[in-house]
Amino acid sequence: MIKMEQNNSQNTVPSSLAQILITAKYTLMDYLRSRRFYILLSITLIIGIVLTSLVGYYHPDIFFQASSLLSPKNPSLPFYTVWWGQTATFIVILSGIFFGGDAISSEFQNKTGYFTVPNPVRRSSIYFGKWLSAFAAASVILGVFTAITIGNGLFYFGAQGFPFEMVESILFCWLYLAAVLGLTFLFSALFKSNSMSILVTAILFLFVFNIVQLFVSFLAHVEPWFILTYGAGIIGNVLGNLIPSGIGGISMFTPSIAEGLGIMAAYFLITTALGLLLFERKEFT
C-alpha cells in the first residue's frame, strides 16, 4: 500500500440497468441522425402519401365495404384491415432490417466495439442498450405510419368509428417488432460482416419464411406454428378475417390470438437470449 494522489478513477460505475439506458440514449442519437433512418422515414411517408391519395381519389370498395369475412359490428374495420393489416408488418420487417440487420456485426466490422467494449460495462448492457435504441428508432417509423393510418381512419369514420381491435392490432404490431428485432439481432451477432447479416435477414423475412410456410401448410398440411410471420398474422386477423396469415397471404391455417402472441413472444425471448449469448462469446480478433 502506498500513499497516492486520489484520482477520479474512484468513480462509482453505474448499475448495468443504468448503463443499458445510457448506451440506448447515445446509440439512438446515432440512429436518429443516420441516413438509413431518413431513408426509411421517407419510404414510410411515401407509402402513407400514396395510400392517402389513392383512397381519397378512388375510394376503393375494399376499404369501405364490409365483406362476408368481416365482423359487421364496426363499419370501419375493412378500412383498417386493408390499410394497416397489409402494410404495417412490411414496415416492421423493413425497420428490423434497417436498424437491427447490422446492429451487432457493425461493432466488429466497423470497429466501434473497440471504443465501447473495453470499458467497465457488461457486453449485455451494450447489447440491450443497442436493442432498445433500435426498438425506439423503429417505433418512430412505425409511429408515423400508425398516425397516418389513424388520421385517415378518423377522417373517413370519425372517432366513434375507431375500432378497439385496432388498438389490439397496434399492440400486436409492436410485439412483432420486438420479435423481428430479436431475430435480426441474432443474425447480426452471428455474422461479422454487415452486408452478410443484412442480406440473410432480408432474404429470411421476405422469402424464406413465406416459402416454408407455403410448403408446410399446403404440402405437409401442418400448421406452421414455428414461423414468425405466421404468428404475426394476428395483426391483420384481429381486425377481421379478411387477411390470411403470412405476408404473402398464403396459408390454409390461421393462428388464434393466443397462438400468435405465443409465437411472437417465443421468437423474441429465444432469439434475444441466443443473440446475447453469441455476442458474449464473440471475439474482437
Binding site: I2, V13, I22, Y114, P118, P120, R281
Partner: protein
C-alpha cells in the same frame, strides 16, 4: 486529497490463447506492479495485441487469468476495468456523434459525476489538441484525429492503469510527439502504463521497463537499463563526409582511437564505426575525426541500444 489506496497492478497468470492448433499466447506469466511505464515489445504476430485484448474483454482467454488490480477481467469485468483506460488498435466512434457526445457517453458509462463530466471532457479534448473539433461529427475525421479522441477517451476517468496498443499509430510526427509527452506527464502522476509499440526509440524515450514477447511466450521482463546493459552490444555510428575519404585513412581511424572495434566503408564519402563505450566515447571519436581533417556533414547512431537488444532477443519477424 491524499488517501491510502492499493498499488496499481496488472497480472497474467498462465494466460493462454489458442486458435485451433495455433497458440497466439502461451502460458504467459507476468506481474507488473507500481507506478511506471512498461513497453511491450515483440514482432508482428507475437501475441502483444492478443494479450492486451485479453486484458480488456475483447477476447476470451483459452485458459489462465488476466488480472487488473487483483480482479479477474473475465469474471468481474466492471470492477476490473473501473480504473483502467484503454486504447486497443484504432477504435471507430459512431460517425454521427461529436467528440463531446462520444466522450460524455463513456464518462456516463464510467460513472463520472454529472457536475464534472462536461469539464473533464473538455479537459481531455484539450489535452489531445482537438478543442476546435469538439462539436463536429466524428464521421468527417481523419484516422489520426479519431486516434486522438480515443486517447482522450482512455484518459477520461483519470485511470490508475492505462493499457495502450501502439498509441501513436496513425498520428503525424507532431501528434506522436504530443502523445509521448502526455504519457510522460502521466508517469509523473503515479499511473501504471502498459503500452505495446514497434517504435523502439519511443519505448526507450518514455518507458522504465520492457517486456518482450515472441511466438506467444514472454522472452524477458526487466528494467530498460538492465536490458540494454545485458544485451546491447557495441554502438555504431554512421559518418558522412563532404569529400571522399581514402581507404588508408579509414584504417588509421581504427588504430588511432581507443574503443573503436571496426570501420566499414559504405561509399566514397560514408563509413560506419563500431565502438564500445557510451556517449563520451562517441563524442571523442567525432572530435578526433575532425582533428584528422575530415569535414563531417552527418554523424548519427545507426542503432539504439534497445534496438540492439531487441534484435539479439527476437530472431524472426513472424
Amino acid at each position: 486529497m491524499y488517501s491510502l489506496i492499493r498499488m496499481p497492478s496488472i497480472e497474467a497468470v498462465n494466460l493462454t490463447k489458442k486458435y485451433g492448433s495455433f497458440t497466439a499466447v502461451s502460458n504467459l506469466n507476468l506481474k507488473i506492479e507500481g507506478t511506471k511505464c512498461i513497453g511491450f515489445l515483440g514482432p508482428n504476430g507475437s501475441g502483444k495485441t492478443t494479450t492486451l485484448k485479453m486484458f480488456t474483454d475483447l477476447i476470451l482467454p483459452s485458459s489462465g487469468q488476466a488480472l487488473i488490480n487483483g480482479v479477474n477481467v473475465h469474471t468481474n469485468k466492471k470492477a476490473a476495468l473501473a480504473s483502467v483506460g484503454t486504447l486497443i488498435e484504432t477504435p471507430e466512434i459512431y460517425p454521427s456523434l461529436t467528440p463531446r457526445e462520444a466522450l460524455t457517453w463513456i464518462a456516463e458509462i464510467r460513472g463520472l459525476a454529472a457536475e464534472e463530466r462536461g469539464k473533464r471532457v473538455e479537459e481531455v479534448v484539450a489535452e489531445v489538441r482537438m478543442n476546435e473539433w469538439i462539436d463536429k461529427r466524428v464521421g468527417k475525421f481523419s484516422k489520426g484525429m479519431k486516434q486522438r479522441i480515443c486517447i482522450a477517451s482512455a484518459l477520461l476517468s483519470n485511470p490508475q492503469v492505462l493499457l495502450l496498443d501502439e498509441p501513436t499509430t496513425g498520428l503525424d510526427p507532431r501528434g506522436m510527439s504530443e502523445i509521448r509527452d502526455i504519457i510522460k506527464t502521466l508517469k509523473g502522476k503515479n499511473r501504471l502504463i502498459f503500452m505495446s509499440s514497434h517504435i523502439l526509440s519511443e519505448v526507450a524515450e518514455v518507458c522504465d521497463e520492457v517486456a518482450m514477447i515472441d511466438h506467444g511466450k514472454l522472452v524477458l521482463y526487466d528494467s530498460l537499463s538492465n536490458v540494454t546493459a545485458k544485451f546491447a552490444g557495441a554502438n555504431i555510428v554512421e559518418v558522412e563526409l563532404l569529400q571522399p575519404v581514402e581507404a588508408l585513412v579509414l584504417g588509421e581511424v581504427k588504430t588511432v582511437f581507443s574503443g573503436v572495434e571496426g570501420v566499414e566503408r559504405l561509399s566514397d564519402k560514408a563509413f560506419r564505426i563500431r565502438f564500445s563505450g557510451g556517449l563520451d566515447a562517441q563524442a571523442s571519436i567525432l572530435v578526433g575525426l575532425m582533428k584528422m581533417g575530415m569535414t563531417v556533414t552527418s554523424y548519427r547512431p545507426a542503432s539504439s541500444e534497445l534496438e540492439d537488444a531487441y534484435l539479439k532477443l527476437i530472431k524472426s519477424t513472424l
